[in-house]
């Protein structure tokens, strides 16, 4: 697996918001991030995909300055070389004993922002009617929105959301997704969103970064990713099919999986020789694509 990759190699430096060079984070017993080099384009929604413990949150912590890399560096392609970042890493951070308005006022004071922006932000995140209700009594969805409001108050160029749909009900997930889509469209901010719920991510992201065991294994635009995702055939058979389909066959329990495109006459002929007992057809999903990228030996 390659550790080095760019989301859009054809872009110029000014079109990227930031680049990383060999970011590595080692703990006593593990290496959470292993030489991650990537360039992230501006104004896009980046889906950061990886299983639990793959190093997504560690990378986001390093990016936000919460942790320090063992080696490697970040470079922000802005005039000042710095970047305004808003982030929710793991759980939204807020004062539980303060109202939504006071939480935002606190953040405004902290960032030196005019407090007159607070009512507008409350409206943006749909918390304008919460009054003096303390944040500890908010629902999970409201807390998530409060966290996003706090993150957005400083007018960030980069918004980082780590597993933002965790704990949300289906209605909350839909609302959050629509909110984020609209936000990115209107404010033109770069959104980096990590998740292991791929079906959810596939409805939002413009580009994907796949991370596995601390290494960046693929960076690809949604367009390219979905173009690659073709038909699939799953089958069970009496004979061993590996000789008939050398190198292209995946095994999932008793089922064998073939990914398209297919030359159907030739395929049917081959299958008929194998004594196929069950056969299903379908379209490859982001989940299967992910499994194929992570475990199927694909390279960036």
């Amino acid at each position: 697996m390659a550790a080095e990759a760019d989301v859009f190699t054809e872009k110029t430096d000014t079109e990227f918001l930031f680049s990383t060079e060999g970011i590595t984070k080692k703990y006593k017993l593990t290496t959470a991030n292993d030489g991650i080099s990537v360039s992230v384009p501006r104004g896009r929604i980046i889906g950061f995909v990886g299983e639990n413990g793959s190093g997504k949150t560690t990378f986001l912590r390093l990016l936000t300055g919460l942790s320090y890399p063992t080696s490697g560096s970040f470079k922000f392609h802005t005039e000042s070389g710095k970047c305004r970042i808003g982030a929710i890493v793991e759980t939204p951070a807020y004062h539980p004993s303060m109202s939504a308005e006071d939480n935002l006022r606190f953040q405004a004071k902290l960032c030196g922002i005019d407090e007159s922006k607070v009512p507008e932000m409350l409206k943006t995140v749909g918390l304008q009617d919460t009054g003096k209700k303390k944040a500890r009594f908010f629902s999970l969805g409201m807390r998530q929105r409060l966290g996003i409001g706090i993150a957005l108050l400083s007018d960030p160029e980069l918004l980082i959301l780590d597993e933002p749909t965790n704990g949300l009900d289906p209605q909350g997930i839909i609302e959050l997704r629509e909110f984020l889509k609209q936000l990115c469209r209107v404010k033109k901010i770069t959104l980096m969103i990590s998740s292991h719920i791929l079906s959810e991510l596939s409805l939002l992201a413009d580009d994907y970064l796949f991370i596995h065991k601390g290494k960046l294994v693929k960076s690809i635009s949604a367009e390219d990713l979905f173009r690659d995702m073709g038909k699939q055939i799953r089958f069970r058979c009496e004979e061993d099919p590996s000789g008939v389909f050398p190198g292209v066959l995946q095994k999932n329990g008793e089922w064998y999986v073939l990914s398209g495109p297919f030359d159907y006459p030739s395929l049917l002929e081959k299958l008929s020789k194998l004594g196929v007992t069950d056969l299903e057809t379908g379209t490859e999903t982001l989940e299967t694509r992910y499994m194929s990228i992570i475990y199927g030996g694909e390279r960036a």
Partner: protein
């Protein structure tokens, strides 16, 4: 720095602690002298029994009760409620430790770092807010304790010099122990550990000092002055409201130095560490 301080004071003003801390100060400032008053009333009642006085078995005990009664007055009661280890001191230091460690759990320090506030400023600002809160609550407690002692025991004969001693040493000792609590909070990032250390440290150090103080007091003067640099030792002067002039200069200077060193060490440690 001004922005962080302004935000942190705003946060404290909006938090429950803003109301809880003064209430605790008033309640303890009232209760502790009243406990002494209850003891005083009981001893007074017992010493009134003429039959007991004539009984040889009780007369010795009653004469010692009389001697206690003679020293129990508004001034002695007020002064005995002042040392850090006497109730309020450890409570407020524990609360300030909790105040400093809680943002690790709520993620507020995380938010500040993401907002690009330098870590040194985060540490110093938290320390300043905690010290100010501890000092203000100490003043509320001291005034309440003085008024309660006055009301319960009557006129208090205390000189301006004694008030100055109490004020200087209280402000200086509370500042130091609050800095210890904040340091512990940032170092351990654990609520239980911060509470245990913040509360036990003043109690333990003052207990040890109270055992060794007679030896120190009888040692050459210079030894006593050196020991004055220890905040726990300053509490002994605080309890008697009687300290040489040099102590009133050495003690606050030493405590400021300790506090600055602790804050610098804490901020340096916080700068290096990863935040979860």
């Amino acid at each position: 720095m001004k922005r962080v301080l302004s935000a942190d004071f705003f946060e404290f003003r909006k938090s429950n602690l803003f109301y809880i801390v003064p209430i605790i100060a008033v309640v303890l400032g009232f209760i502790l002298p009243m406990l002494y008053f209850g003891l005083f009333a009981l001893l007074n009642y017992l010493s009134g029994f003429e039959q007991l006085k004539n009984n040889p078995e009780f007369s010795a005990a009653l004469s010692s009760l009389d001697s206690i009664l003679t020293v129990l007055n508004s001034k002695s009661v007020f002064l005995s409620t002042l040392p850090m280890s006497q109730g309020f001191g450890v409570v407020i230091i524990g609360i300030m430790g909790f105040k400093a460690v809680r943002p690790f759990g709520t993620g507020i320090y995380r938010n500040k770092i993401i907002a690009k506030i330098p870590r040194g400023q985060i540490y110093v600002s938290e320390s300043v807010v905690c010290v100010v809160a501890a000092e203000v609550s100490m003043i509320i407690y001291t005034v309440t304790s003085a008024l309660t002692s006055l009301l319960a025991f009557g006129k208090m004969e205390i000189t301006g010099r004694e008030i100055l001693t109490v004020c200087v040493l209280s402000v200086s000792v509370y500042m130091f122990y609050t800095a210890v609590a904040v340091y512990t909070a940032f170092f351990s990032r654990s609520v239980p550990l911060t509470l245990v250390i913040s509360i036990l440290l003043p109690v333990l150090t003052q207990t040890i000092i109270s055992f060794v103080s007679p030896v120190i007091m009888s040692a050459p003067e210079v030894t006593a002055y050196i020991m004055t640099a220890l905040p726990s030792f300053q509490c002994i002067y605080m309890a008697s409201a009687n300290a040489p002039d040099a102590v009133l200069i050495i003690a606050p200077l030493a405590d400021i130095l300790w506090t600055v060193l602790l804050t610098a060490a804490g901020a340096a440690h916080f700068r290096k560490k990863d935040i979860n």
